[in-house]
Symmetry: C2
Subunit: 498 residues, 2 copies
């Protein structure tokens, strides 16, 4: 059999596995958007079964043999070789999981999701505690199974951001914390922009339609995706032709839904832009969660919270929300960039956001290394918020129950949010440098040059490179804090005039 024939066999098997995984993703999307409560238990089982089947298909010895044969073959194209190498890596990692463990993890995760929902309803972490404890036990087990050199949390981090380690992140967050604190202190000495006009009543239906407009404006393709409502906004993809975002609407807050749409829209543009001919293969997948997040932050913040964006959109905004008619672009720009230490990560400003991440990072690290008990999460959380953000956490719902991530089984995920901001700023600096006249284009709502840059530099590569390799390739440097700090400083000088 020729290498190309073997490669065909390999892609057929990978596509079959992808079919099962994406089917599971459809069930998960449905679980978070439309599932009636009576269907929850069976749905958990159904998802666990699909997860187990996908695992078994990927653990097939024949696939292992095929990958070994292919990884020696030199008649493959460079892309094909890369697919094979990455799949072999995944294969060897996946082999470490037993079917029993995969099933248990899926079932406990599903239970966690439902107890998290219930705990939020009752505003009581203790409702969530025991199933979360189960999950953390499994996550520690997972770290042992995956192996690590220095810290068990490294193994989990690596699942989301290949190459990231506790050692690297400890340094990164240390170096970030000081300048952010200084910037915050400078800001806090200035008068705050007035943002009371953002907290009026904003009609649900108008917000919904405005959100769709925002998605359309940044280039979301509604023939290849849709938006729905869910308690926690997310993006999911079943193939490049079916990428779905969700949002939530707060009738008393104009900003919440609007920038969430831009955020999820940025994720979605990435998924819609991945090479569709690589369905089921590593080169058809996103690079890392940090890079994925860079795409959402890019559109939400670098573009969406920029003065030019606000100015361009003022006519649209006042058409949908006549109650903002008296507010000009400049005050709106100020209001949506107001810095104010607060309780909820997803609604935090671009500066204090990273303190939220740092708290979760250190908490997860401790849970996984075993230096913090699950029952002590609320007190650790509340103290950390007092120390770093200076806020008092009134209850669990606004505290340690606010994020969906743990109930999804995601530990090691949060740090990628900060990495996303850093990458976004570095990419935004690069695209500006490389594109003469970009500011003028953006000022008239023309994002074609941005789309082209992202397609050429980010989307098309899939998982070809690690995040830092990609960053190096397209910006000429590894990840640097300075771009993000410069970006923040420029923005807040424009808002606060310090």
């Amino acid at each position: 059999m020729t290498s190309q024939q073997l490669y065909e066999q390999y892609t057929a098997q990978m596509r079959k596995i992808a079919d099962v995984k994406y089917a599971q993703a459809v069930l998960q999307w449905d679980q978070e958007t439309y599932l009636p409560s009576g269907g929850a238990a069976a749905r958990g089982q159904q998802m666990a079964t699909l997860s187990e089947i996908a695992h078994q298909l990927f653990a097939d010895e024949k696939l292992g043999v095929l990958l070994q044969e292919l990884s020696g073959a030199d008649e493959l194209t460079e892309k094909q070789q890369r697919n094979v190498a990455l799949t072999l890596e995944d294969y060897q990692k996946n082999k470490r999981y037993t079917p029993v463990f995969v099933r248990e993890l899926a079932e406990v995760t599903s239970r966690c999701y439902h107890t998290w929902i219930e705990a939020r309803k009752q505003n009581d972490f203790r409702v969530f505690e025991s199933s979360l404890g189960e999950l953390i036990r499994l996550k520690k087990e997972e770290a042992r199974v995956l192996e690590f050199e220095q810290h068990p949390y490294d193994a989990l981090l690596n699942e989301f951001e290949k190459g990231a380690t506790v050692a690297w992140l400890d340094t990164l967050f240390d170096e970030l914390q000081q300048p952010l604190k200084q910037l915050l202190s400078a800001i806090m000495k200035c008068p705050q922009p007035d943002d009371r006009f953002l907290k009026q009543h904003f009609d649900k239906d108008s917000q919904w339609r405005f959100g769709l407009e925002m998605l359309k404006q940044i280039g979301f393709d509604f023939e290849a995706g849709r938006q729905d409502l869910s308690p926690h906004p997310f993006t999911t993809s079943f193939n490049t032709g079916d990428v779905r975002v969700t949002t939530r609407i707060d009738e008393h807050d104009f900003t919440s839904m609007t920038w969430s749409c831009l955020h999820e829209g940025g994720h979605a543009l990435y998924e819609q832009g991945l090479p569709s001919d690589q369905y089921g293969l590593p080169l058809g997948e996103y690079c890392s969660l940090g890079i994925h997040e860079s795409q959402s932050r890019f559109w939400e913040n670098c573009i969406g919270r920029d003065q030019a964006f606000i100015e361009y959109n003022i006519p649209l905004i006042t058409r949908f929300f006549p109650q903002l008619k008296e507010v000009g672009a400049k005050p709106l720009f100020g209001a949506v960039n107001k810095v104010q230490p607060s309780l909820v990560r997803t609604e935090a400003d671009e500066l204090t956001y990273h303190f939220h991440v740092m708290i979760r990072y250190s908490l997860e690290k401790k849970l996984i290394e075993g230096s913090l008990d699950v029952k002590d999460i609320p007190s650790f959380w509340n103290e950390a918020y007092k120390n770093l953000l200076g806020v008092d956490v009134p209850d669990d719902r606004k505290g340690c129950l606010q994020d969906i991530h743990w109930s999804h089984g995601s530990f090691g995920y949060f740090p990628t949010y900060s990495l996303g901001s850093l990458y976004a700023a570095q990419f935004f600096t690069a695209v500006q440098k490389q594109t003469p006249g970009l500011a003028q284009q953006i000022a008239r709502g023309d994002y074609s040059a941005v789309h082209l840059w992202l397609k050429t530099n980010v989307y098309q590569y899939g998982r070809t490179y690690t995040s830092n390799e990609l960053c190096n390739k397209i910006t000429g440097e590894p990840l640097q804090l300075k771009y993000f700090l410069q970006y923040l400083t420029d923005k807040y000088k424009a808002v606060y005039h310090f």
Copy 2:
């Protein structure tokens, strides 16, 4: 190993298979409600993969051995024995399908669905012709694989209605046709009820909310299901706790959505009422399509088009639709029971409906036996409508492209619609006989006795009996035409006064 331990193994495998099948059903539900067009191709593949996996799991030799061992065991309860016997029957039938055939069938069916959508858009059967031809080729192949004694169509019928044959249906439809023609001719001599008030403008949102009220009224459990919109209304179930119906809204027709809700609601009550502890097992499944349809007709027609139902609901109707305020119960009862030969099956009255079924039955029979070419479907269709219903078919959309069934791969399905009406009338007669004071209860919107009767006599048995066995057991007789003919005659005498 004890029989009970073997039985446990058997149920575990069956539940796993059910998980995959229901996952596929979720993907199908999504395909018909929310899927963006760009996702269609990959979705077809994904569903085909799940179908193939379910087939492979069910074709597992180990399951065969287990079933053989269990079918000899006498330590099983009667229900357990029945599950094993029915599963063995299914197993042996399923063994006849090769994985390649299953996959091809799923892919061609998915393609058919999309070309049917496109053909309807273009109002041109020829767009659908070639993929439908492919599908019919596969269906003939399927009939051969499944084996049959007298007619290849028997094999396909049997998939939907165990025990039904061309010989039996030919007689049944022959005996039905004459009295229906006589009844129609008596009706056509009378003045028609005025139904112009049904064809006003009815606000989409009011219709949607009214439809939900109708579902609630007949006992649909919204904690265990939901309603959405789709081009063609259907019911699907992912377990007894998650049963979904869909509807469509015609803003110029009050009846279309209303009675479609009652129809799908009847299906849904059956699915919600099946024994949930039998998930994945035959006794947790519906009896046959004919019996399923009897449940929808029961609520749509026997209950929903009865004068008492209309009278009880007049206040609700006029609250949602003030434009009907001047119309009384009696004229509304007449209008929604107006008999008029027409083009579209789903909107036909209860009498001429069966002519629509007879046409499809004879057409499918001919396609499967090879005495009619796919390209000749439109002309056969149009002629048959002229002959039997006396109407001229203006185009394919209102003609042979009107039904979704072929695009779902369902041949042999249509006859079960007529069987449903017949069973419904026989059951309705039985529940009335067995329940003193039922008419008074129904007249005040109290369906508790009806629910109890259906639960006790139909829902709880799942697939324990064949449709005719069930009918015998709960009404004391096999299926009889007389109950349906009496029911129709009574109704139309009340409407037309002949």
